[in-house]
Symmetry: C2
Subunit: 439 residues, 2 copies
Amino acid sequence: MQTLKNSKTTTKSELPIEEVLESLQKENARLSSLLNVAQSLSSVMDIDELLFKIMDVVRQQLHADRCTVFLVDRERNELWSKVAQGLQNEIRFPLSKGIAGHVARTGEVLNIKDAYDDARFNPEVDKKTGYKTHNLLTMPMRNKQNEIIGVFQVLNKASGPFDHEDEELLNAISSIAASAIENAQLYDELHKSFVSFMETLSTTLDARDYITSGHSRRVTLYAVQVARLMKLPKEEVELIRYSALLHDIGKLGIPEIVLFKNKKLTQEEYAIIKRHAALSRSILRKIHFQHHLKSIPEIAASHHEKVDGSGYPLGLKGDEIPLGGKILAVCDVFDALTSRRQYKDRMDIVEVVDILDHETGTAFEPYVVYQFKNITLNVLIEILEFGHQGEFSEADLSLLRQFTLKDLVRIYREGPDNEEEQNALETFQFYYQRKYKGD
Amino acid sequence: MQTLKNSKTTTKSELPIEEVLESLQKENARLSSLLNVAQSLSSVMDIDELLFKIMDVVRQQLHADRCTVFLVDRERNELWSKVAQGLQNEIRFPLSKGIAGHVARTGEVLNIKDAYDDARFNPEVDKKTGYKTHNLLTMPMRNKQNEIIGVFQVLNKASGPFDHEDEELLNAISSIAASAIENAQLYDELHKSFVSFMETLSTTLDARDYITSGHSRRVTLYAVQVARLMKLPKEEVELIRYSALLHDIGKLGIPEIVLFKNKKLTQEEYAIIKRHAALSRSILRKIHFQHHLKSIPEIAASHHEKVDGSGYPLGLKGDEIPLGGKILAVCDVFDALTSRRQYKDRMDIVEVVDILDHETGTAFEPYVVYQFKNITLNVLIEILEFGHQGEFSEADLSLLRQFTLKDLVRIYREGPDNEEEQNALETFQFYYQRKYKGD
């Protein structure tokens, strides 16, 4: 088991007292900053944020120009790292490659004083990136069980090569970082379990019937778009996402013979189906949600409420309906209207928007409909086609990215102003109306 | 925002150098042990374990006899603490009460040098516990947002009352502890979400039909008992628990009209129902489980496999069937055989065990059946009655606790050896055969 280096509190009598004093002060400063590092890392549970913070801390503490933390992925035998800039948000390479791979495999510390004078350094990487490496310190990161879970690579110390003190400092930071990373990974894995469980359940429930297949997932994608366009805080977007995934869970309590009847429903059967909204609430209330997710049951249960109070299950009016419920109401109806039905084309998009407009202020909250129409056409078409096998051309998507649903309806109603608008209209229609085997 | 106390690295010139040296050494020792505290707390994510560790660390660092950490429960306006000994595992009291309550409300630090000479101290607590308090230090614990999330109460420093240095040290430990506690609570809350989600789903699925109502929950309770009797490690018990909760999730993919048919099934219908085991696998495989839970899909899918290879879906033989699957197989059949059916009594318990015995070695793994029979009768009857409204007498439960299912069957077959066995038999029968309204 690894422990942090203890301070040397015994005075070495053969040294002049000034030197002892100086070394104590140095040790003091070192411990003090390590303690601050420990404190600052312990407050971050988001793995991405944590990795950036660690790289930043190491860079500062070692007075270096750059620091990268690579983590070992044992399942794939790879090293990977987060990168802040660029299109991709991580880089990956096999454990067998590079200096970092060597250090991860052997546990050796490599302190390379002059990169271009050292055979172990591969100048190809610099050539690709345009960065000039002078000196670099590469060190394994070990957890409490002494397993190598990652690698630090620190580049270009301003005042010449890294020395023994740098190695000791990085080693101490390393064991603090390893604990923080393992905690954050544990949390991240559990979070993924929870979310993928909700997604799988929601998909499985919808898939029981052709008509609803993919419905909750699409409603979720629309709802998240609207929430983001409203600039809601991250936690509220998460709340709306999960409420959307689970809004129809109450259908588990409705007999399939009624739920999936293809003929016209009797009034009694319709009344039974309407129970699903209240059932969503009572099922979801049994789940112990985290604090910021406590209102999932209320939001999920209110997706059939209408702002004029004529909805169900509670007949809530206006602001009595939670915002999330108002967002779900619009997304739920939009998805129902635009879904492919067996042997039937989608409803014309202008007709769909006409219905939304007609119900705005009675069923729907105007601001929600307003923001729904601000969804760009590339996003809209990707959600509409979610779960189908069709592909998209990148060129088409970047054309569509320039127009919103609101624009589309204007172009339809008033005719295109220019060739680009004409193209966008036709491109949207192509995807919106394309057919699949079995449709 | 709170930060840790920095070391004083500047030498105060007016002090003699020996004193400076001594104070630096002291500060060094303090920082060093704080760093060790930070490191040791950061490696614990289990909230109960963490709280015990914090109390232990504080007790040692402050050379005190006892330390308690109380946490603030804002929803219930209470303080609560874990206790290691005794029947209950936590104590709770209103925020309005006691010295700890005062400190939690006001944020004041109370350093009481002589408890019995101080009006703020209530000697009633000592009277109840038989403990004699001499001196005590009570201090709020604040998180990064400076909110009071708990209270430290440290009792009886051996070498006289707590001094200013003790207060400073506790204050530094406090901010380290607060981070660790908040992380562990975050994890704990998410874990509760995940587990309660699985439980709710499993209960909701079973509740669709009277015959299966409560089935998965009972199978889970039996399976956990068997796993514990086998002394499986904690993580494997958890794996078996969740596999049991989810073993029938594949029934979501079977049309209700077949699944809930009360007449005899045709061969074709039976074949459709048998698909549920493989469907459990394919649904569960879509979920991103944590590393130690990765085999949930395989275990859940194998609850109808038989050791002689005649089961389904894969016809696995002997050791090809995961242990969890073998445990589920026995528990699943036991629950089916002992369930109350509408208008029908439970099957005689000896007859149930006869069936288990008869299938041991063909359908069931002998060691699993052996351990199943080691379940004590109090536990057995509590699981059998899970979900019913019936109550238990404590006296009955402690009588039943002395016998296992194996004992019960012997007493049945060979007759009771003494009055206690006779009583146990009758008591078991009373609960096993009691009737409820609607049965």
